[in-house]
Subunit: 467 residues, 2 copies
């Protein structure tokens, strides 16, 4: 059946009037003319636009089949492509035969009327990709994902699959989910020793879901050259906000022989390439977001493309914030974390463009970041963009064995638990650097969507793992 | 630093004699000539081959730095590229300056000598990518992964991220890992009710790691057109075999308006494209596998490319097995599962090529596979290849609501727990089909490696989740 089907996208862009073609998809609307025609707007997900089907009363089954078609019903139709008299689309399909594949009860089908709230659509996440907004998000998300792969492949990076289940805790990047095959019901009844015997668990010790693939990425970067991971990561934080997910996708490049300045340039090129690809390859969807979701989206993205990301040290950033005369909810002082309000002021109001803040106080950052000679700061970098705030976090890594061990001590970490990570500095250590991009944050930036639960197919959040 | 570094791969293929270049990487071997030169074989992971560095005694630090370089040490070197007098490589680097980045203690570094067993290398999975074999596997795995993305992107499929944490159990495709934030230590001390209160767990109910993204893939396929997933999947089975992992990567395309024959053709094109890309893009690595791991690899792969996959019904397959006169460990009869011994006989001895077995007894297969009119079989398909056996499993899906509900009853499943899946048949149902490819099985086929733990960076198996 598929072998003769053509997509709506292909027909709208390349279909030749006069050609006989077969299409299949879902009815968005049907209206009947007084002259005995039916006009069907057919969508197959290949693009935002629908193909108009013109069905006249002479088509077999017109009364019994065509007239029963309602929103959401599926069909297959064959006919002749003709130039469309309307200006809305280039061609339309004059149907000669039509087969109803599946009805959609007009009372029970939840997507009858337009204009459902995003909150409601989250409850029917199995049907929301059939709407314009979520179809467009699916296409943009696909475009971004492939753009990311292409970006790294063109630069000779190897895609590496970091493990999802791990027994390391990656320096407390966040709360972790436990993974187990122990029978919780039996545990709840109490054990003789009143403690958990992990010797009986699947992995023989306590195991969790990864919060980052960086440390494993470093293993490969110091063996096969530049690499990147692209996989799911997890946070068991009880954060019910529009910006947090318990399960999200992260991209983490790691590059040997890179110093912080190289890392910054790569991050900038990376973000700009993704934006450029989305604008070029999803033009119709991006126009939709600009029209319906946030009328500043295209302007914001083009502005980002037009300017070099401004590099600002943490110390300079603090001085700017102190000099701003603003009243902050969280006080600003050297040594304190930059909060969202500070980051947004810097990128949205002060610089009015993306910035890269670097050289943060070492007390704020994890053990693996390279220490600067000043003894106070580390070679960390955060990329901040208007509207979203922090979109990338990264650093040059500490490649000196002694300094790394000192930092682990400062951070109360046991080097023996990180024996393999320490080995990378013990044997043929090299300068290296990397960063992480949260995929969903990038989609928020591109689409103007406000809630991160709406830019991932099936969001996992506290008390919610449906579908 | 990176900005001036050139990779060994680029220099060996495109480097112009006379050019001044900088390289960085790890020492594979160093030998000193009687004339006072040192020859260093430098590898940077960009390809299997090393670049030969020629360092004469006049290079600054020759005695103190160059002479201390041992296997595994890292360095950066600048010099002039010259045509190599030897036939082994086109060019070599005559070094003018060299900086040692990191030593590798020749006593402690575990990769000193060649010829370590794969078992031993699994214990040092953080260093094994520095070996020829595991560097080659990393490059082939990357090539396959990107080939998969390109294959689907070129055909207009959207990449969809299926959820990893799930509260559905996908028809018992396998044992599942539980994901929890409940305090197991407290549970082990016993609870007042002697049972687990999942109301206190992160997701408010029992949650697990996914065994397949298919059902969620169907959601998107029936909304936005052809899709594929590419993500980690999990089995909590206590299988200590060279063919099983607790965590592996799976690719699952799902295509609306596809019937079984279309699905078979897609699977065949898919496998062949991956093989063709690996042979073309990783020629050097593939030659290595053919030379060192399995001398029949290239022949096997070219044979697969040269023949159309043979389509064989399950019933025909059973007849062939019965007529073979072979003695089987597991008896053959219509209605019994095909075992590895049967599958390998069919593909390796009887047909001597990849085959697609289809139309399996419905009692052997999950509820979602489309029932044939014979009342006995379902539109399932398995792709079997020589040496590896089953590499792809798939089916046309049951799109008829009533038949699906009957099948769920037969399989003791509660339709209410699958309400969203059933909805896809209730509203605008369409014929559709899909399949799953285990990435690691594909890499076994390509490389000739025998143990699946060696073709994933960090294998997770019973009692083992190190790194």
């Amino acid at each position: 059946m598929s072998l003769v089907r053509q997509t709506v996208k292909t027909l709208l862009h390349e279909g030749q009037p006069g050609a006989t073609v077969t299409v299949a998809g879902w009815v968005r609307t049907r209206r009947d003319s007084k002259q005995g025609f039916s006009f069907i707007e057919l969508n197959d997900g290949s693009c935002m636009a629908n193909l108009q089907l013109v069905v006249d009363a002479g088509v077999p089954g017109f009364e019994s089949n065509v007239k029963r078609l309602t929103t959401g019903a599926s069909l297959k139709a064959t006919g002749e492509l003709k130039a469309s008299p309307g200006s809305k689309q280039r061609v339309e399909l004059h149907v000669s035969s039509l087969e109803v594949l599946g009805d959609a009860d007009s009372v029970k089908y939840p997507l009858q009327k337009k204009g459902h709230s995003f909150e409601f659509l989250r409850e029917i996440a199995h049907l929301r990709p059939r709407t314009n907004t979520f179809g467009a998000i699916a296409r943009v998300r696909n475009c971004v994902s492939f753009s990311i792969h292409r970006f790294f492949q063109e630069r000779g990076f190897l895609y590496v699959h970091a493990p999802i289940i791990t027994t390391s805790d990656c320096e407390g990047a966040g709360e972790m989910f436990q993974v187990t095959t122990l029978p919780l019901d039996k545990l709840a009844a109490g054990t003789a020793t009143k403690s958990v015997n992990y010797g009986h668990d699947f992995f023989g010790k306590k195991a969790s879901l990864t919060v980052s693939g960086q440390l494993e990425g470093e293993i490969y970067a110091t063996a096969v050259g530049p690499v990147y991971t692209f996989g799911p990561t997890f946070r068991a934080e009880n954060s019910n906000t529009p910006r947090h997910l318990a399960e999200f996708w992260m991209i983490e490049p790691e590059i040997p022989f890179y110093e912080l300045a190289d890392n910054m340039q790569l991050a900038e090129d990376f973000i700009k390439t993704i934006i450029r690809d989305a604008l070029a390859q999803c033009a119709e969807d991006m126009a939709f977001f600009n029209e319906r979701i946030d009328k500043t989206i295209l302007e914001t993205l083009n502005h980002i493309l037009a300017h070099e990301f401004k590099r600002v040290t943490y110390t300079e950033a603090v001085e700017i914030l102190l000099a701003s005369g603003k009243e902050w909810e969280y006080p600003v002082s050297w040594g304190a974390n930059l909060q969202a309000e500070h980051e947004r002021y810097l990128t949205e109001q002060h610089f009015k463009q993306p910035i890269i803040v670097y050289d943060y106080p070492r007390t704020l950052k994890p053990f693996y970041m390279k220490c600067n000679a000043d003894g106070k700061t580390v070679r960390a970098m955060d990329v901040l963009v208007p509207r979203v705030g922090e979109i990338i976090g990264g650093s040059q890594r500490e490649e000196d064995l002694d300094v790394l061990l000192t930092r682990m001590q400062e951070c109360d970490l046991n080097p023996e638990e990180y024996w393999w990570y320490v080995d990378l500095r013990r044997f043929g250590t090299v300068p290296h650097a990397g960063f992480g991009l949260g995929l969903e944050r990038m989609i928020l930036l591109l689409t103007g969507m406000q809630n991160i639960r709406d830019v991932i197919p099936f969001p996992r959040t506290p008390k919610n793992a449906e579908f």
